[in-house]
Subunit: 367 residues, 4 copies
Amino acid sequence: MKSSLTQSHPKGPMAASLAPAQVEKPEGIAKIGLLGASGYSGLEFLRLAKRHPGLQVVCLGVREAARRDLAEFFPGGLTGASGPGGAPGLQVIEPEELLAEAANGVIDTIVSALPHGVCKQLLAAMPEWERGIGPRIVDLSGDHRDGAGGFVYGLPELFRNEVRPAHRIANPGCYATAAILALAPAAEAGWLSGPVTVSAISGVTGAGRAATLHTSFAEANENASYYRAGGDHAHIPEIERALGQANLSVAFTPQLVPMNRGILLTAVAPLRQGKSAAKVRELYEGRYASEPFVRVLTSGQWPSTREVRGSNRCDLSVQVQHQGGTLVGLAAIDNLVKGAAGQAMQNLNCMLGWLETTGLPVEATPW
Amino acid sequence: MKSSLTQSHPKGPMAASLAPAQVEKPEGIAKIGLLGASGYSGLEFLRLAKRHPGLQVVCLGVREAARRDLAEFFPGGLTGASGPGGAPGLQVIEPEELLAEAANGVIDTIVSALPHGVCKQLLAAMPEWERGIGPRIVDLSGDHRDGAGGFVYGLPELFRNEVRPAHRIANPGCYATAAILALAPAAEAGWLSGPVTVSAISGVTGAGRAATLHTSFAEANENASYYRAGGDHAHIPEIERALGQANLSVAFTPQLVPMNRGILLTAVAPLRQGKSAAKVRELYEGRYASEPFVRVLTSGQWPSTREVRGSNRCDLSVQVQHQGGTLVGLAAIDNLVKGAAGQAMQNLNCMLGWLETTGLPVEATPW
Amino acid sequence: MKSSLTQSHPKGPMAASLAPAQVEKPEGIAKIGLLGASGYSGLEFLRLAKRHPGLQVVCLGVREAARRDLAEFFPGGLTGASGPGGAPGLQVIEPEELLAEAANGVIDTIVSALPHGVCKQLLAAMPEWERGIGPRIVDLSGDHRDGAGGFVYGLPELFRNEVRPAHRIANPGCYATAAILALAPAAEAGWLSGPVTVSAISGVTGAGRAATLHTSFAEANENASYYRAGGDHAHIPEIERALGQANLSVAFTPQLVPMNRGILLTAVAPLRQGKSAAKVRELYEGRYASEPFVRVLTSGQWPSTREVRGSNRCDLSVQVQHQGGTLVGLAAIDNLVKGAAGQAMQNLNCMLGWLETTGLPVEATPW
Amino acid sequence: MKSSLTQSHPKGPMAASLAPAQVEKPEGIAKIGLLGASGYSGLEFLRLAKRHPGLQVVCLGVREAARRDLAEFFPGGLTGASGPGGAPGLQVIEPEELLAEAANGVIDTIVSALPHGVCKQLLAAMPEWERGIGPRIVDLSGDHRDGAGGFVYGLPELFRNEVRPAHRIANPGCYATAAILALAPAAEAGWLSGPVTVSAISGVTGAGRAATLHTSFAEANENASYYRAGGDHAHIPEIERALGQANLSVAFTPQLVPMNRGILLTAVAPLRQGKSAAKVRELYEGRYASEPFVRVLTSGQWPSTREVRGSNRCDLSVQVQHQGGTLVGLAAIDNLVKGAAGQAMQNLNCMLGWLETTGLPVEATPW
């Protein structure tokens, strides 16, 4: 694999082999403080972390925690506190208190699932951490995806070699993850000649957990709707940056559909020279052959969100339209797993030296 | 409006004025035999026809009617038979018997909502009808959209002048209706320079009423899936034909999402010269200004299926991406109304001389 | 029909014949001010009123109307304002202003779909109206179901003779409507010997339109939940009162399920003497024989919300369990129609002298 | 705890301590043949088994396996075969072949998730197995819940001591599991004086995976419906038997609601003497204090299916209505876990000497 994209964004070859830095059981347990634990991505990380042998969530940071009905925010015994015969519940504290716990060394890793803008603001109070001291940080928000503050863009399939030594990771956006994986092989190979048009549908957890009229059940049920179509969606520069050298202009049309989880994304781009469908599929299969979380579907199969529900997998299908003139990449991910909490754990596995698949479901829970 | 497209498909100017041929109450009542009445489109036509002052559904044609549990197929008192204190129910007969009723003059109009292939086969037994004798026919299937058998393509917004005098109408497909309305103004104006890529999502009624594993509740719920993506979908030639002279190659990526009704469609095409968003919107607003069933949304508004649920309206939004190089047309319709039964009634209104909106809901039933 | 219940609540025989007071076209149009127009029941009334030849909604009262995005609250062109080529939109004003319009005679009828507590508070400023002057009022909230302020309990199937001459109507609650219709024939006949246990499920529009976490899509989807089970639900006294003389204690277990519309209700009560299923069905069929909006299903059929979706019908099925010792009444209604806006219109038809079915759908829109 | 129920059904004290027979890692791995693997319960068992250190699913029995599109039946990489970089897939064979594999000793345990009637029929060909030789069997169907063929009724919370030494287990029905757990403490204590009325709602996976019109998406979506209400539902004798000595007549009203998973059940029964809510809750809390999979909710909390989604837990809430005269037990389970595959694994844990919670999720996956 030629690494033509690597200059534009973090550095180094993309399709780094999985083997060298990984062992099955690194020493030590990462002690995690989870910021924004009451949102969907935060809860998903909490759920996944319980399956991981090397990650211990020690405390949860929730804004105005004292004012909230935590049982409503943490259903299903998710904190451990309300489970039958369960372990004593996790401590729920204010985000600032959680940062103090990190400063005190009670936790060594911060996973932040706070809304956009909040993590950056919190970290502004800890400028010394920027010099590589302080806790490991994985930020799921869009705050640091431009590389600000020494954050590395954490899409392991493209930037694994930068992620491994990193101390701070900007976890990619859900739409961007799907779009980049759907386009990267063709972009890296220099096959794309022009502007990219992305159309995508997302389940409602993608809109966050704040109660709004637009995401109320009776409004969102039996309704498919565009939102901010054609506008300056934050995911656009993220995609353009990650596909770097290809220098592609990206337009994006997101849609909300009545389901909880899942993204289905259609990326369309002109192919530099007419390529056959077989040729394009061969390129993709080769590029992702050793990736545990990317599956390139065979001809006649297409992605569906059910096939990746609860899984950290991205399913891809590549089509060629208009007599080889147009590439259509189809992708499905679970927005809360590969699009958020699962990818955060995949990044932590890279950083901590665990096998990249540790604790992460490859198989789906279709229903 | 220049009618550059009109040579390729039926003839005549497209944006014909609504006024001349229409009166509020033409004489007489059309006596309708409804073929395929047990499917979703058939039932929707039955439901709408009860609100229309000039259409009387006289009998229903259902294959193997005698073998079926009609109460399961006609819920909610839809035939009238099971309604409380209701009128005596409609007669349910075999399709061939319904054709005989037409031959006998008991009915003068056939609306066929049979699956693709069946209507054509039935009509093969009535070759004399092809010479303009026999009943008025509106065929909702794809059997006659190529103009075979003297059928006129019934998209009134483009071909109103051909529809009015027609005796046989091929009702457009649901996806095609949305795609054509989303692209026609730009195509007619000669603004599109290259291949069109259409991505669309549909509610599950769009897949018909046959019980299949794929459309079972537990499989389709919480699932968004592509189907036949990149393949030779029957809607493609239909769109290419209707956009005629523009000579555009169309590719199509349909998706199924967990809702009953609705299509949300994204049509992307290169603009011949960079056009501003305002310029494009002006074109569309002008083109559809007098159309009762097309609404061009203002900037900052986007279509949603909820806004057209139960309505015969098509909501459109036009975007310009990549510095004016790409047109993105967004459309929402109810696949059972403007995409099927409603458009069939709109065509009948044209043919019979009723105001085109007679019996047709413009407002949505959002929930 | 013995009218044993009639002393306890409004007066007069229950199963009054439909004929006398009704003509097909009374003179005049009722000019309606619709309070709480932005909620689900309010919008449903607005939608239904457009089909009624004698009701004209003149203005809409919405609290803090000026601060709201009315397009979000009135989707689908519901006010007329945003419809394509539509009539000028309805005026949206503050509730107090709407009362002033009534005082000025601009409107002669108030339909209030405000939340519980608000209508009563507003009317407190208009004490003179209590003496029968002022506008006709139909209050959909629970504020006046105890008969306060001279309001008559508007369940026409039981209290038609009280409703017709009434000037103020308390529209029954959705659960209460289903429960009362499921039990009334047995209660009136004196067949019930002991406490009644009601278990019911409701679609999410039943919880109102305020945005809450509990009714957010991702929380309510794929979730069935009890709420306030066993508590003092406001519907309980309403049911006990309407079943009056039977002197039954009622307990109630409401549940929320992931759909927009519909109530399915199971009412269980001990039968005084063992009755056969056939005997009980005969009682119910006789009691409701002339009711246009009640359908007693035959043996082997059971209610479903789909069969009444969008309809003003109540479907009933009566079962006998435990060797004739227990009556189980099953009911389905659309909570927004027979459970709210449709019943309000039914009451207005009674009050204004229209045929009781005018403007009201009997048939369902199952999808 | 008085064990008044123990004579009627299997024998022995019910609330047997969890400790004696269980160790954390018994020797050996059970080699499982999974019959009916393509249904929802079968697939759920397959999914759960992958998390269990002592259960190895060796082969899958699917009727007419060769004729089917296995990718459609096993989505999400569930067989391992289609997973990216996955292990070689599991062998899919005919049920009879699977029995032969058991006879040959290739597998030592059969888990059967076949439809009702099929397992019994298959086993009729293996009469010698009835004498305790042959494979361990857990049958998820209703075929052996009456104790036929030496099967023990496998509800560990009531019959743990019978389950542990058993060789053949009849896994309880989903509705019966919820109903029995909701009533057992009161029934065992002799507090119930009369007939029991059960009303329950279930997600659509409860209806099996065969494609039918009734369970098609567009029919089941936005629809709550009764089915076989008041009839002789197979679950009734099962509940009556398990609650044995209490000698209660049970009536049952099942309902289908538009969600994939989950049962919410309301059990109503007259209390022998007026009991306070506190007293009843104390009884239940004591009875289930050491049960890892039963959670008695505190006052003011009610079960919801979301709280048990994907979990083997049963959430219970007990209410007292009509001045202490009526017990209302509310229960929530995941029909595919505690109602089917999870309980099968719980039974296997009992039989094999594993900690009863091994491999079984207590926490929910709410979304």
